[in-house]
């Protein structure tokens, strides 16, 4: 199959012919070269996690360093800046306002500003400080000793404040908004807060009601031992069934699962296999596949190849795709009524437990809800509370209303309030995530934005494809994939996340769909009063 056809939706079809203004054409070419160099760096990264022999690590660092230098040099070249300015002058003239090209210029400006607005001295201090801070974080976490990390967290936050100042804080906004722009362009802290606040209240209430429920949910089936080979074969079967194009992608094994959309026609997923919890790899694979389907569906071929328009919108939208396949499809009754016979076939003699298991057993087992300390191990219901705690704390740190040294106290109080948990130590508390040591501030909320977008899209999709549950229970995922291809993926980065959300769902982002989803599901599983 030719790569164009293989790649999901087979290219972007703008409503007009691509603009041929010489500045726009030349700009696109330069930007595309930077993107191609970036795709090489992606491959180097993928290889390092998958097949590179251990002895190659120094050489790989040298390759990545040299390449990063070349990319930075090209990305920040004055010519690109001049061409962007020239193109901006053409919007409303030879370039139609609101056209794909106008959107592309808006995003090129954003990328260029992100790459050029930080002075070299700050970039260097950032690199040195975050490198040391992440080392210190490792030691501090091992010893569960926050005091050791506190001064480094303070330094990193100072640098984040400087960074935000260089990017420029929008009028009436706050420093946090400038940092959000790196991960979730266009959204503000206040906008996030407006959705998170009702979400937190309703979610916290739901969790507390679940905790009081006397319903028993057995997870015994999840600890059936399944060899990695059988899990891998089943994972590949699921990818095929759901429409991930294996002619334009792969599935490999790594310590930490990821999806790398390396280049057009080349999207690589990874997962990991635990002998005793097969759903780890299964949901890990479906999660990464959600990212992968987005990558395969982006308009990476054609006139906008290698430009921002061919890229993803934001971390939140990316995450919405992974969460949709993992949670909305993968944790549904319909999924299991399709999957269970295939599980029996694939896991075969290794998994006697599945012979007598019922769809309902699986459905309930994968939908338990139990407050826990560690975010990355949290279930669908409690997960977002972990995220919101981090959002509130990092926003306060950045605004200066909270000092680094006071983080553990606030952290533990919030875990008590939202999740009803008494955090036993900082290792299982505010030292658990690497993000802050790397200076990733504004990143955490995108996880929950992903869940919110997924829920809101899911409601719309189910209105458009009325028999979707029936289709899923027959293993027919084509209509869902096609809808995502057409309504989300094919637009690339033409719209900002909020714009796309309204365009597609008819409403601004809200906590309601996610809460309806969770209240309905957990209400059913735990027999709560308001259950459907």
């Amino acid at each position: 199959m030719p790569p164009g056809v293989a790649c999901g939706v087979g290219g972007f079809l703008p409503s007009t012919m691509p603009n041929t203004h010489p500045s726009y054409v030349e700009l696109s070419k330069l930007v595309r070269e930077v993107s191609t160099l970036g795709s090489i760096a992606s491959l180097l990264g993928w290889d390092q996690e998958t097949y590179m022999p251990a002895g190659g690590v120094d050489a790989r660092a040298e390759q990545q360093g040299l390449l990063a230098g070349i990319i930075h040099e090209r990305k920040t070249q004055k010519k690109i800046g001049d061409l962007i300015a020239a193109c901006e002058g053409e919007v409303g003239k030879s370039i139609e306002t609101g056209s794909p090209e106008a959107a592309n210029i808006r995003e090129m400006r954003r990328d260029y500003d992100l790459a050029t607005k930080l002075p070299t001295s700050l970039v260097q201090e950032w690199a040195t400080t975050t490198s040391k801070a992440s080392e210190e974080w490792k030691h501090a976490r091992e010893k569960s000793d926050f005091k050791k990390f506190a001064p480094w967290l303070g330094k990193v936050m100072d640098l984040c404040k400087q960074k935000a100042a260089c990017y420029g804080v929008p009028k009436g906004g706050e420093a946090y908004d400038a940092l959000l722009n790196e991960y979730e362009p266009g959204i503000t802290a206040v906008e996030i807060e407006q959705v998170f606040t009702p979400l937190r209240a309703r979610l916290s209430d739901l969790i507390h009601r679940v905790a009081k429920s006397k319903a028993k949910v057995s997870t015994k089936i999840l600890s059936a031992k399944v060899p990695a080979e059988a899990q891998h074969a089943f994972g590949q079967f699921v990818l095929g069934a759901m429409g991930f194009d294996m002619n334009a992608g792969r599935l490999d094994t790594t310590t930490h699962p990821f999806c790398s959309g390396i280049a057009p026609g080349d999207t690589r997923l990874t997962t990991r296999y635990r002998g005793e919890k097969f759903t780890d790899a299964l949901y890990g694979t479906m999660h990464e596949m959600g990212h992968g389907l987005y990558e395969q569906g982006l308009p990476k071929k054609g006139p906008n190849a290698g430009t921002p328009l061919a890229g993803d919108i934001s971390l939140g939208i990316h995450e919405s795709q992974s969460r949709m396949w993992e949670n909305f499809v993968g944790r549904s009754r319909e999924f299991w009524s399709w999957a269970l016979p295939h599980v029996r076939k694939h896991y075969g003699p290794h998994a006697k437990a599945f012979k007598s298991a019922k769809v309902e057993d699986l459905y309930r087992a994968v939908n338990t809800c139990t407050p826990s300390f560690i975010r990355v191990e949290a279930d669908e219901g409690t997960y977002n509370l972990h995220v919101m705690i981090r959002f509130e704390i990092e926003r306060a740190l950045l605004s200066g209303s909270l000092s680094a040294k006071d983080v553990p106290g606030v952290w533990n109080a919030k875990y008590k309030e939202y999740l009803g948990l008494k955090v036993p130590d900082d290792r299982r508390g505010c030292l658990q995530d690497v993000h802050w040591s790397f200076g990733l501030v504004g990143y955490f909320p995108t996880y929950t934005l992903g869940n919110l977008y997924a829920a809101q899209l899911w409601e719309t999709i189910n209105k458009k494809i009325k028999d979707l549950p029936a289709r899923i229970s027959k293993g027919d995922f084509a209509a869902l994939k096609k809808w995502l291809n057409t309504n989300i993926h094919a637009h690339g980065r033409r719209y900002r996340a909020a714009e796309l959300c309204e365009k597609v769902t008819g409403k601004p982002l809200s906590a309601d769909p996610l809460m309806r989803h969770l209240e309905s599901k957990l209400g059913g599983v735990y027999g709560l009063a308001s259950a459907r």
Copy 2:
């Protein structure tokens, strides 16, 4: 294990401290960057052959094209030329004559000249013409229709002549010498002829005597069916036993086996498995491992990292390493007396045939000698005649004493004379190899130079390590590997091939060692009069 230790001999130890002349230091840095970019291109190439999904091919071509442009730009930058000239002026002054640094400057000059002496117009015409010629060759070979290919061979040869003229033909030399410099620096066509002429005569005589022999050599054991997994596990076992560092390398499966010395600490081998001829993969793996041990043993770390001094000498010397492990070790009685019990263990239930097989059965089966039409399928005895025929023909084409259209006649006459074969058609005759269509002229002789160097080194090694056969039969390959590490690999590109040969073996390259080896072995297998 730290990469430095992992990488064979652990770095180059020059007799003097590295030169610190500013021009030399700056030159080394620039050259090293080009080398690092080259290592990235190698990884892209490896990935394309191993794990890249089919859909990634267009993007990969774009990545490689862009990278090749950047490499060429940097490799040919005027600053490098100026610095080389400055350093050349320092040899005999601040840079000692005959020192590693002087050798490095000599090789940097060679690389720079190769990269800069061809005008852009010729490079472009070369790319276009060879691309078309290789397509035409494919079609012509399929239809066994040399007439279709003849005009293209003529065009390629014209370009080769122009190329040689640009490189500059050495005084008293011929155009062919200028092309040889790309693959086997320092050698001339006359020098090759002086070794090939006696080799051809003695070899042709030997082959004719073998053909007349009434001895029967059974190859039945070679067709035992062995599953790919068992072959792969055994291949990995052999690599480990022979000292290939798997912490600094890998073994994968590809259509065509190769070795890619991607970077320090990262040397990757590939092989292919045929269910019905296990020696294909076994000798393929040992062949590539010979290349791989050379790569792992080169002085890639330390002050000369990324400079020519850290590289291999020539295709001939590289091939000598692969042929030594494949033929001199791998086709010996001693190898099989060590390997057979391990074969029985690894191939286990799949290979009943090996239970009753004797060492002598294997030894004889892998040392048959039968004239055949196809070079890449030829045995150790007849192989070099295939090469010499190509050398003679391409030299004549380049000098103009032979026209493209007359190639089949000459080819067929030589196959009759040297190998006693009547070539049935051009597909199995002068259309079998891709080399000429790509303009690779001067490449073929390096295959036989590799065999010659291997034989001459082997005699010396056996004088230095008197109990080598006994060691091999015990599976002790350490002394051999160490000798190669110290006497060949660790020098990097300090000496030219002929120089290294004399330095190590005490004699200039000669046909005698290879002929002694083949006459002794084939004499024994076929019971010839002069057998030991």
